[in-house]
């Protein structure tokens, strides 16, 4: 698969499982998108791209109610969470988040909306291609909590009717932003 093919397949597959995929050109359009869609307070955990692009400052400047600490206490009043992604898998539309840091997990499980920044350069072909990266993450860190996320939370437990958003996020927004990071080991 070429890079463009991978991006296209990823977007198609992620959309088919209920994620909203939007290609954005730069950080200022990310801030605009978030300001338009957060719908309330936003959990912003620490991650590489957030620090690098100073997202906390920019979001507050744009008037977004940004929560950056005490997630366990404050999550109840948050509408959404923002994280990056280490990389993604094209054939299933899956995001991979190295979420050993608890705040990444809280931001991606508790609120009803989850926004994810993904550099389109980091879309791998499939689950098989992910294994060397998983292995590298296991070598690098002594402990791991690595999440594959494919679309929003779902259930079919009542009469097998597909229903979105049972325990995890109801909405999953994937923002494709070039130039974030090309290293699958960082978010």
């Amino acid at each position: 698969m070429t890079d463009t093919q991978r991006v296209r397949t990823f977007s198609e597959m992620a959309t088919s499982v209920g994620a909203r995929v939007t290609a954005l050109q730069n950080i200022s359009s990310v801030i605009d998108y978030l300001a338009d869609h957060v719908g309330g307070a936003l959990l912003l955990p620490e991650f590489f791209s957030a620090t690098r692009w100073n997202l906390g400052f920019l979001l507050e400047q744009a008037g977004v109610d940004t929560i950056m600490d005490d997630f366990r206490e404050k999550a109840a009043r948050a509408n959404s969470g923002l994280t990056g992604a280490n990389f993604a898998l094209a054939d299933t539309g899956t995001l991979v988040l190295e979420s050993t840091a608890e705040d990444i997990r809280l931001a991606s499980t508790l609120p009803e909306r989850h926004f994810v920044l993904l550099d389109p350069e980091k879309i791998l072909a499939d689950g098989r291609a992910a294994i060397p990266v998983l292995r590298a993450l296991h070598r690098r860190d002594p402990r791991n909590y690595i999440a594959y996320i494919t679309g929003p939370s779902r259930t079919a437990d009542i009469e097998r009717v597909l229903t979105i958003g049972v325990h995890g996020p109801v909405e999953l927004h994937i923002l494709l932003v070039p130039g974030l990071s090309s290293d699958c080991l960082e978010m």
Binding site: T109, D157, E159
Partner: protein, 715 residues
């Protein structure tokens, strides 16, 4: 046999059959499942994938001590505490002890079949600790005080109105039976639980030796919350979930969601290794590795393939018995075909003794199993074990051991039967009603009468017209062709002679032994195998033809297996297997003679019913279709063409006639909807069932063996 147990079981069947809504839901689910599964596997080679998984799981099983030690070493190095529990009680004692020691009041759980297996919730509640199920389906059945009726969808047997009622009791409000609303209620109700709980209990789909980590494959997100929020995380993991490497784990993950629910991937796959951060401290992670019969399973050469199971639940999804009675009948804790086997090893033979007979032997599960497990074979073995332990019933013992093994006696009795039945048949070929307590057997299908003169007695008077035969073959008639449908033998001779083949009928052939084997009497089956090998090889035929796929499988596969370790017999069994072929395949593939029938038939609409053992046993389904189509008939496919017709030999007569009747009703519906005026098949058992059902309904649709349809168009 345990009478009370059997009585309770019968009662559960009756209850399930009295709930048509359940059957309808399970049928609809089965259809939808097959469609989405097919889409999910598009472009992938399922056969290759399942071979790979089977081989990987076997390798892991054979080296399980090494991989278990590697897993424990790596998990402990990452800060996990690992406990190996020999039994369910042992596992519960450890977890309850831990919870008590840490002063835990509330436990949140994500779905874990292993904890259902050990009855962990009961053990926790016994010491006053509340266990809250957070998987929506599990929570529903917890509120209802029931057990799961499906491994992947635990509450598949319940309807939204019932759920609304349960939730209303919980919230104290009247909750409307709209699914989206009910899901929201569950979200709100369960959310606080994660925050309040002191312990989260999950299962695991995989335990990876290479990393010492586990993987959880889920959709709802509750396992992520359960493993994140509480201070203590306990993962209860069957030792059969071990895989050597991340690559092996990936193989399972590629297939599991596709085969379980037809998803390419579940919403979440969570890889957890070690004591990850939790609040201001580290998580206390306990991994309880559960044996509870798994090592015993690994040591059973006949059953150990069951350890390849990845718990996708597909064997239930496609099972006609499951679709008819659901998992509360066809299962104990684990349900469906795999459930029978796991129950025998995890919960004891007694709990498996009834459901082991509920399998109709259609092999639909075998075809869909991602671990490439021959579930039917293992179930048959367990039936033997239980047959040895509990006996197979005096009547059956008498028939199999004293009568069938003595061919002359068996055949004399059948001939006597032909005389004695006259008051019932009134000289007709079909029995429409049986008197007294047999009457229920002809309520839903007519039965064929025993032929006045069996095929074996007619044989020498049937002229054969072949001058220099291309092949000399022997016909293995089987009981049905011989004593119920001798006309099929005449048709076969007509067709074969026309194709330049001379047919012999070796006198000393006897029943193929499958009825005895399916009832758990292997000894009789073995004795019959020897008799038949002797009889069939005697005239040194080029091929042995069969018209019954169950007999085909006995000759091609079972005899070889029984006699593998019998010097002198093993080689002869293999020789017989190599020359045994189903008649349709023989005509189409061996003789390449389809064109002989070309355009001879009227363009009648014919639909084809695949017999279980022909398609999923002998691998024959294209051949008869080709013969019928070439002959000029208009071949139309019915829905579920390869779904069992519900015959199953003694299944539909003795052990489960009520279930058989329902499965037949499905088949008759599919035949009718196809619009065909004739349904063809290559099995006298299916013919008995389907023809009997059609006759009882009084429809004009004709049921016929393919050989009849070929013979009738030759002059």
């Amino acid at each position: 046999m345990n009478k009370q147990r059997s009585k309770d079981y019968r009662q559960r069947i009756d209850q399930a059959l009295a709930t048509p809504r359940l059957q309808e839901a399970l049928h609809r689910f089965g259809d939808a499942y097959l469609l989405s599964r097919q889409k999910a596997f598009a472009g992938l080679d399922f056969e290759a994938l399942r071979q790979e998984i089977g081989a990987m799981k076997d390798r892991t099983r054979d080296n399980r001590e090494r991989y278990q030690a590697e897993f424990i070493r790596n998990a402990e190095a990452a800060g996990a505490i690992v406990y190996v529990a020999r039994t369910a009680e042992d596992a519960n004692r450890y977890i309850v002890g831990l919870a008590t020691a840490r002063g835990v009041k509330l436990v949140v759980k994500s779905k874990s079949m292993a904890s259902e297996e050990t009855h962990l919730n009961k053990a926790l509640e016994a010491v006053g600790i509340q266990a809250l199920e957070t998987d929506l389906g599990e929570w529903i059945i917890q509120l209802a005080g029931q057990r799961p009726s499906h491994m992947v969808m635990p509450a598949i047997h319940m309807f939204k109105e019932e759920v609304a009622e349960l939730f209303s009791k919980q919230t104290g409000r009247q909750e409307s039976p709209e699914i989206a609303h009910l899901v929201k209620v569950a979200r709100q109700q369960l959310r606080q639980g994660y925050l309040d709980a002191d312990m989260g209990i999950t299962g695991a789909n995989l335990a990876v030796a290479e990393t010492g980590g586990i993987a959880l494959v889920t959709n709802e997100g509750n396992a992520r919350l359960t493993s994140t929020l509480p201070k203590i995380h306990v993962a209860l993991v069957g030792i059969d979930k071990l895989v050597p490497t991340l690559d092996d784990a990936e193989k399972v993950i590629r297939v599991l969601p596709r085969n379980a629910t037809g998803q390419l991937l579940t919403s979440y796959v969570t890889w957890i290794r070690g004591a990850v951060p939790c609040g201001d401290a580290d998580k206390e992670l306990h991994i309880v590795l559960l044996d509870n019969g798994r090592n015993a399973l690994a040591q059973s050469p006949e059953c150990r393939d069951a350890l390849r199971c990845i718990r996708c639940g597909a064997c239930a999804n496609v099972c006609p018995v499951y679709q008819t009675v659901g998992g509360h009948v066809f299962g104990h804790i684990y349900i469906g075909a795999i459930g029978i086997i796991l129950t025998a090893f995890f919960h004891g033979l007694d709990n498996a003794a009834e459901i082991v007979r509920a399998c109709i032997g259609c092999r639909a599960c075998v075809a869909i199993c991602p671990g490439n497990i021959d579930l039917e074979n293992i179930i048959l073995h367990l039936r033997e074990v239980i047959g040895d332990e509990e006996g197979i019933g005096t009547a059956k013992t008498l028939v199999f051991r004293k009568v069938m093994r003595n061919r002359k006696l068996f055949h004399s009795l059948l001939r006597a039967g032909a005389m004695l039945q006259k008051p019932i048949t009134r000289g007709e070929r079909t029995i429409r009603h049986l008197p007294l307590f047999f009457s229920s057997l002809t309520e839903w299908r007519t039965l064929p009468a025993i032929a006045e003169k069996p095929l074996r007695d007619q044989w020498k008077n049937i002229p054969q017209r072949v001058e220099n035969p291309r092949f000399k073959v022997a016909l293995f008639g089987g009981c049905a062709n011989d004593f119920l449908y001798p006309e099929l033998g005449r048709d076969l001779i007509k067709v074969m002679n026309r194709l330049g083949v001379l047919v012999a009928y070796p006198e000393k052939q006897n029943c193929c032994g499958v009825p005895a084997l399916y009832s758990g009497d292997r000894e009789t089956a073995l004795e019959l195998a020897e008799q038949n090998i002797e009889a069939l090889l005697e005239g040194n035929p080029d091929y042995v033809l069969t018209t019954c796929p169950t007999c085909t499988l006995a000759l091609q596969r079972d005899f070889v297996e029984y006699l593998r370790d019998h010097p002198g017999w093993a080689e002869r069994a293999a020789r017989l297997a190599a020359i045994t072929v189903d008649t349709s395949r023989f005509i189409d593939r061996v003789l390449g003679a389809a064109d002989v029938f070309k355009g001879r038939a009227l363009p009648e609409k014919v639909t084809y019913h695949d017999s279980c053992h022909l398609k999923r046993g002998a691998g024959v389904w294209r051949e008869p279709r080709n013969l019928l189509a070439v002959s000029g008939r208009e071949l139309v496919e019915m829905d579920h063409a390869d779904r069992c017709c519900g015959f199953g030999g003694s299944y539909s007569f003795a052990s489960h006639p009520d279930i058989a009747k329902n499965i037949l009703a499905d088949k008759l519906d599919d035949i009718r909807h196809s619009g065909a005026s004739c349904v063809a098949m290559d099995c006298p058992g299916c013919l008995m069932q389907i023809r009997g059902g059609l006759e009882k309904q009084g429809t004009a649709i004709r049921a016929a063996h393919t050989i009849e349809l070929l013979a009738e168009i030759l002059d």
